[in-house]
């Protein structure tokens, strides 16, 4: 049995010998033990099968056609005979060309090379040679080229481009985010200049408090970011501790690394949120990285917590003001607004006047945000930013009782409609800078009284019932790439007279506020490039003999 096995193995190691006899070669014989249609050289076909054929698909079987003289098998059908029969002849084919191959001493010239059969000994070598996606006839030179290409790659991590993952020592800067489901996935890399904010759910347990890596501060700051020549360490900017009830306190010292540990059946110092701030230069090199943590406590009953992550990129020596478009406004981005500082009207102050801007939400152009209770007096403070291009309407219901005094009510309603700090200027372009005062459009305030001709006295007080902001914008620039530019903003307050109610009665008045964007673009004007001028000048010495 051992001998038979060895013999069988020995047989397997060699590929079958190539067939070179033209009488036995048949290219169209594809079916095993069956007759192929119209295949005159098929040995499985009988005379009856041949009588059914119409033509011979392979009329000539020959070796290399460039040989000077060789044997060829010719197959043809004799359709005159009844029944049709196949004619098989072996002839000497002669190539009359003077460049025909008379003889060859190179065995593989006329036949395909038999491939090496893999064995246990040569398998590794064959895998190295042919295992990749491509292989060439000369693998040695190929290897030399790839070695030479490796060193230049080290320099490419210095400069980042938009969207490129931020690389750290071990892999990428991770920003855990929900993938498919709401559970946190740690495999999301942070892209350069891509400001992201994600929230995801992490499954926790108090018992495994110190073994879950994602709850520890160290997990987020231990690897340093690869940038330029050196590596940038992630510093801890601030630590906010959140109690079980949700109250947050900012810790005064953020040098100490607080790791999660179990205390009184609570897991304290667990990471609830991380806020990365990366500072970069204008050429794309990262120079600083800081992380602000929110640490909290997990109680025994909680099986999962929600973690929130954010990353923001700021250029060095600039104020981080988010642009709403560059230069024209982009639909969906907030309308930028601001206030003028004191002393603006004086021309001398033009040079120094700059509008006080902040990325604070409360200084933007905002509109009343409807709440579920729909009660105006209870909903104070809920504002929504005005997004360019989105017409919005919101409102609330005001319940007026007899005991309400008019003047304080009017002031309260004005605050509800306009918000705490209603801006005075709106940026006309999405990227208007605070220094360019002419790029800012003043908000025109109008007052309309509902009852213009009324029988009531002037002194009776008016309460505002609606605020309508109309933003007129135009398309600016070229026809193929128009930019949105705000031209005019008008805030209209409509007031109505508050009629005194008899005691015990109450009335419900709807209060509305709306924003409308109107396109006042003028039709596009064709403009031409400068007309070509014909420059005809006679040569200098045209009138030579006379001048």
């Amino acid at each position: 049995p051992a001998d038979a096995r060895d013999a069988a193995q020995a047989r397997v190691y060699s590929a079958p010998a190539p067939v070179t006899d033209v009488a036995r070669l048949c290219v169209c014989d594809l079916l095993v033990a069956q007759c192929d249609a119209n295949c005159c050289c098929d040995p499985d076909c009988s005379a009856e099968d041949f009588s059914l054929f119409t033509t011979c698909s392979v009329p000539l079987v020959i070796g290399d056609s460039q040989l000077c003289s060789q044997k060829a098998a010719v197959y043809s059908l004799d359709v005159e005979a009844n029944p049709p029969e196949r004619i098989f002849k072996i002839i000497d084919q002669v190539n009359p060309s003077i460049f025909c191959i008379h003889a060859t001493n190179y065995k593989q010239a006329l036949y395909l090379k038999s491939p090496e059969i893999p064995t246990a000994e040569n398998f590794d070598q064959l895998l190295d040679k042919f295992g990749g996606a491509t292989f060439s006839a000369e693998p040695d030179t190929w290897n030399l080229d790839t070695d030479a290409q490796n060193p230049p790659e080290a320099n490419e991590t210095s400069r980042y481009e938009y969207g490129v993952p931020v690389q750290t020592e071990d892999a990428f800067l991770r920003l855990p985010s929900p993938v498919v489901s709401s559970w946190c996935s740690d495999a999301n890399p942070a892209g350069f200049l891509v400001n992201q904010a994600t929230k995801c759910i992490r499954s926790v347990s108090v018992k495994k408090c110190d073994s879950i890596q994602a709850l520890s501060m160290l997990f987020y700051i231990n690897s340093s970011i690869l940038a330029a020549v050196f590596q940038v360490n992630i510093t801890v900017q601030s630590i906010v501790v959140q109690s079980l009830h949700g109250m947050r306190t900012l810790l005064s010292s953020s040098d100490v690394l607080r790791l999660p540990m179990v205390l009184d059946e609570l897991c304290i110092n667990a990471v609830f949120g991380v806020n990365y701030h990366i500072t970069h230069t204008d050429t794309g090199e990262i120079i600083e990285a800081a992380a602000a943590f929110v640490l909290g406590a997990i109680s025994k009953e909680e099986l999962s917590i929600e973690q929130s992550f954010e990353i923001s990129f700021t250029q060095e020596n600039t104020q981080p003001v988010p642009l709403s478009g560059n230069p024209g406004y982009v639909v969906g981005l907030p309308v930028r607004a601001g206030f003028q500082p004191q002393g603006y009207p004086f021309p001398a102050a033009f040079l120094f006047a700059s509008l006080a801007l902040s990325s604070n939400k409360h200084s933007q152009l905002t509109i009343l945000h409807s709440t579920s209770t729909q009660d105006c007096l209870a909903a104070q403070g809920a504002r929504a930013p005005v997004l360019f291009g989105y017409n919005m309407i919101s409102g609330c219901k005001l319940r007026i009782t007899a005991a309400m005094k008019c003047q304080p009510l009017a002031q309260t309603l004005l605050d509800v409609l306009k918000g705490q700090s209603f801006p005075e200027y709106v940026a006309s372009f999405g990227n208007s800078q605070a220094q360019d005062v002419l790029d800012w459009v003043p908000i025109t305030q109008l007052h309309i009284s509902e009852q213009m001709i009324s029988h009531t006295l002037q002194s009776s007080c008016q309460i505002p019932v609606s605020l309508g902001i109309e933003v007129k914008w135009t398309k600016y620039g070229s026809l193929v790439n128009p930019q949105a530019r705000i031209v005019n903003v008008t805030a209209t307050i409509t007031t109505t007279t508050l009629k005194q109610l008899p005691s015990g009665r109450e009335r419900i008045i709807p209060i509305t506020s709306s924003v409308v964007f109107t396109d006042i673009s003028s039709p596009a004007e064709p403009s031409y490039k400068a007309w070509p001028t014909i420059n005809i000048k006679l040569p200098f010495d045209f009138f030579y003999p006379f001048v």
Binding site: F99, C100, A103, T104, N105, Y106, A109
Partner: protein, 135 residues
Amino acid sequence: NNSSQLSSLPLQILLYVNGIYYIFYFLTTLAMIIYKSQVFSYPDDFLAPDLAVLFLMAILEVPRLYLGFKGNLTEAEAPLGLSLGLTVGSVVLCVYLLLWQTYVLWADVLLNAVLLSAYGLESGLKVTAIAAFVS
């Protein structure tokens, strides 16, 4: 003056024609090797020996013809004998190109056969001339 002139005229004519024919032969064989390397599969380890033989033959041909001319004209048997020896080497190389080249085309066969016959005739005439000079 046949008795005083021992130089062989047929040998001289043959040597002269051989020189011209050899230039044609060398250029044609080189062109055909280039053609073969483009059209057929001609690996480097097979191309190198064929080219080496061809160039070696060209290097041998120059002194061989010069010595033949000189020996025949000065009626000296030493250069003619040396030329005969070099002819033997050229014959061997010519046989290689005729039989043992990687690809032997029909044109190769013709060219080499003509050259081989020229060498054979030359050798015969040289032997006759040496015999005439010696005696």
